[in-house]
């Protein structure tokens, strides 16, 4: 996985609550079996009108936000379907940090697997960041110090699970780590379970 350490970029406001992964990546594009180049489908039905032309009202179509790297989101962003195409598409679009009061849990987990940082902050902080984003400010996200900063603003600390933080900072390949460091523990677990719940191993 790529690393995520520090990011400076424009923050786009997306204040609607419950933006689900069907909005982020409509289901009809799920027939694609690759995970690259999906940015063109991100927010498709909000981003383009029925005529196929960019919808001028949609925030990421506006000149100030076209190159946004951060989204300040309404509550419960990324709820719904587990499709990892949603973070793949956002990342391909250039967005790799999302800030909200809460995220859909599967979406949030998927972000961490793709060098993306979802940050959870209290409602009043997110409301303030939404206000700032509306003014088109740049923000700096620093995962090494777990702080969010910008011009004329007191740096905001944020929390990330230590192992998820390390995974992003180091660009972990979690599967390689499990196979290298946890192989014995997994094998021991299976040996033990095979004795106590043998019915789970009848077909191996």
């Amino acid at each position: 996985m790529d690393r995520f350490e520090r990011l400076i970029g424009r923050a786009a406001p997306m204040p609607a609550a419950d933006i689900d992964t069907d909005i982020i990546f409509p289901a009809r594009f799920l027939l694609i079996t690759e995970k690259t180049g999906l940015g063109r489908y991100a927010f498709y039905d909000w981003r383009y009108g029925a005529d196929g032309k960019p919808a001028p009202d949609f925030v990421l179509n506006q000149p100030a936000y076209r190159d946004a790297k951060i989204l300040i989101c309404g509550d419960n962003f990324g709820c719904g379907s587990s499709r990892e195409h949603a973070p793949w598409a956002l990342r391909d679009l250039g967005v790799s940090c999302l800030i909200s009061t809460s995220f859909g849990e599967i979406f949030r987990a998927n972000c961490f697997k793709n060098a993306m940082l979802p940050i959870v902050l209290p409602p009043e902080t997110v409301a303030e960041l939404l206000r700032r984003a509306t003014q088109g400010v740049e923000l700096e996200v620093d995962l090494t110090t777990c702080t969010l900063s910008g011009a004329d603003m007191t740096p905001i600390p944020f929390d990330v699970d230590p192992s998820r933080r390390e995974a992003l900072l180091e660009g972990w390949d979690e599967i390689a780590i499990a196979l290298r460091k946890d192989a014995d523990a997994i094998a021991e677990f299976e040996q033990r379970q095979r004795l106590t719940q043998p019915w789970l191993y009848e077909r191996d």
Partner: protein
Amino acid sequence: MAEIPSTLPSTLYDKLWASHVVREYDDGQSLLYIDRHLVHEVSSPQAFEGLRAAGRVVRRPAAQLAVADHAVPTHDRDKPIADPLARKQVALLAANTAEFSLRNIALTDADQGIVHVIGPELGFTQPGITLVCGDSHTSTHGAFGALAFGIGSSECEMVLATQTLRQRRAKNLNVRIDGDLGPGVSAKDLILAVVANLGTAGATGFAIEYSGSTVRRLSMEARLTLCNMSIEAGARTGLVAPDEITFAYLKDRPLAPKGEMWTAALAYWRSLVSDEGAAFDKVVQIDADAFAPQATWGTSPDQSASVTDATPDPSDATSDAARRRIERALDYMGLKPKTPLRDVAIDRVFIGSCTNGRIEDLRSAAAVLKGRKIASSVGGIVVPGSGAVKRQAEAEGLDAVFKDAGLEWRDAGCSLCVAMNDDRLAPGQRCASTSNRNFEGRQGQGARTHLMSPASAAASAIAGRIADVRDYI
């Protein structure tokens, strides 16, 4: 595992969790062992590609079961899939599972169906196991007392390679439902009301255990419906403690343990209950007696009401954000504030999905439709959740009831719940649907979805508008 240290009373979820911890990390995350993995064509291609690129193998092929359900057509199944992208995706699942030695249930196989319908049907889903799938409705399987949750493709790859996932333990939420469901009220009405009560993120970070006298009396299939939509309140996991109803359902299923193994398994499964006095982080009490049939009016599954009620008035909202949310939903749905739900005319009906595509669902819809015709302004499809459901329905003559009423009888798949195949609504079309999500565009670009039970969808088809099923039974 069977020997759970039990000095303190534990919840069912905590027991399931503790029995699958391979190791704990310093930051409170755990490496969790995954007993079973359901694989489908949409979330798996990138996982298999990852394995291939890294030269990795599948650790336990026998712990996986694959089937194509999302992209498959529900008609003309004797012909090749017409959509070239869907054809390629389904073929890729067959090729990947062959390459990595997984069992794949082909489209032509009698057992094909929606992952969350065939898992229980085949006995692949069992109490006490951890079960994952690259699909958010994996919470369905918790109805057996299994710790089941949806994951993304990267996590699918991790499970294929290591049979483990790095996870953080959820908090415990007890949704206790007591009382008797009235006529025409089903598990779907219950879960819609639960989601409305909790809100879309009300159970985020929690595992829900459903308990209470109402839940104890629910059939296995009704419990599957209940657990299925836990994710719509934000919970990745929904649970019902296994009991005699569970064991009777499971006995003699093809993949269920047999003979001495069954006896041993049963002894263990009986220990899978929340202990007396186990502490939940949150408890919600629901009174089933009070219930009318429910239907959604908005674009989020929590935006529902009793079918006898009306759409909300945004000006009654308690905050600006809540008002904007209601306005946005009503605008998309093409509805005015304070519109009685029973005045809302529908164009289409969809009966099916992993929420409501099982035989009991089809029976309850057919009971309403028997000897009646759907309104001339309405069209619709009935899509059984699996090949087995289809055969059973046909053996009972339910297909004839649906066809005589004016509905189309299809083959098994996710169909109009996710609209990845050609079962799709036109922009602006309004559908009475037994599926699980009324999101914008979920049933097609610009489509409008009203979630309800199979019996309510059948009644609405007859009325040509959202109907109170109690007027038809």
